[in-house]
């Protein structure tokens, strides 16, 4: 198992096995991050290719001792952001059926009704994420999946801090509304008062 530093050293020595190792370790991760930003398979594949072409050009300048993922994440964010901004008013796409892997077994344990409800909620959340404006979605992904602070997101997306907060609050409000709106017709309450007390505790 090679460390990030060893991979970088091999790449900087011009050895192709270094770049192969970099791809083995990070290609899927870059693709997945690009997919969560762009919500389109082809776009995400193109973005992943662009990210690694940029990396290929810049890797000789990469400072040894630093972790690779934050750098790759930044390049991925920039690449996707450029694509989103270039696409301008292109409507957001929603994922195709089967695009998402099945949930891990541990998260779906319990009775069938509960499993079905969790799966249904996840599906609804995926759809609601797909319907968000792309930059709102990026902020959500960076905050909740990459666990970046507001300041880090502002820096990564080249946005003022206030804008990041606005996008984040609006996005979460929209997601909540979408989830609650979807639950209402089936007679289920968004968060039942009794449940709310449990979660609150």
């Amino acid at each position: 198992m090679h460390t990030d530093d060893e991979i970088i050293r091999l790449c900087q020595q011009g050895r192709s096995e270094g770049f192969a190792l970099l791809l083995d370790r990070y290609q899927v991760r870059v693709y997945r991050r690009a997919y969560t930003f762009l919500r389109d398979r082809e776009d995400a594949l193109d973005a992943a290719q662009e990210v690694f072409m940029r990396v290929l050009q810049a890797i000789r300048h990469f400072e040894r001792g630093r972790a690779i993922w934050p750098w790759l994440r930044q390049v991925t964010t920039n690449t996707c952001l450029n694509r989103i901004r270039a696409a301008g008013s292109r409507p957001a796409t929603v994922p195709l059926d089967g695009e998402w892997e099945h949930l891990e077994a541990t998260t779906l344990e319990g009775d069938p009704e509960h499993r079905a409800m969790v799966a249904w909620d996840r599906e609804r959340l995926e759809l609601a994420l797909g319907e968000l404006p792309p930059e709102y979605r990026m902020v959500i992904v960076l905050r909740h999946q990459e666990e970046m602070s507001y300041e880090e997101i502002a820096q990564a997306m080249r946005l003022p801090l206030g804008t990041v907060k606005t996008y984040l609050f609006r996005a979460r409000r929209a997601l909540r509304a979408a989830m609650e709106g979807a639950r209402a017709p089936s007679g289920r309450h968004a968060v039942a008062p009794s449940q709310a007390e449990e979660v609150w505790q």
Binding site: G14, S16, F19, A20, L23, D24, Q27, V28, Y31, R32, Y35, T36, R41, A44, L45, A48, Q49, F52, M53, L56, Q57, P95, G98, E99, W100, E101, H102, L103, E104, T107, D121, R122, L125, E126, L129, I140, H144, Q145, Y150, K165, L168, F169, R172, R173, L175, R176, M179, E180, A190, V191, P193, Q195, A196, E197, E198, V199, W200
Partner: protein
């Protein structure tokens, strides 16, 4: 609608409120079931967002892996070609410096010049002055 700003509730759930605001909000939540319900809904939402399933990996990624490795090898070949090309420059420069030693020394040039010529040359080329004075 909650009676507290929605953004504040979200920040409370994230744990990014400052201590004073958090204390005020906590006191409010203790007596407001409606706001507690909003907080619970945001807690659920944030948990779900942190536990989203990963997108499936498309088959085309294998192909992309190969394409990128080819691009890497191509770039290596290209950069070694340009390094070799750069390597020719010092050699060429070296040859030209080598040839310079066969050029006529400056004081010998001075010997061939007339007195007036030496004066003109010395006034224009201060470095040549000490060689030309000898003649």
């Amino acid at each position: 609608m909650s009676c507290v700003d929605d953004a504040l509730l979200q920040m409370y759930v994230e744990g990014v409120l400052d201590a004073a605001d958090e204390e005020i909000l906590r006191a409010h939540l203790a007596r407001c079931p409606r706001c507690r319900q909003h907080v619970a809904a945001y807690k659920e939402l944030m948990w779900d967002l942190e536990h989203l399933p990963e997108p499936a990996v498309p088959k085309e990624l294998d192909q992309l892996h190969e394409t990128l490795l080819r691009a890497w090898n191509e770039q290596r070949r290209e950069s070694s070609r340009s390094r070799r090309a750069r390597g020719l420059i010092p050699a060429w420069a070296g040859y030209s410096v080598g040839w310079a030693r066969y050029a006529m020394p400056l004081d010998l040039v001075g010997g061939l010049l007339s007195r007036a010529g030496k004066q003109v040359l010395a006034s224009r080329l201060p470095l040549a002055r000490r060689f030309l004075k000898k003649g």
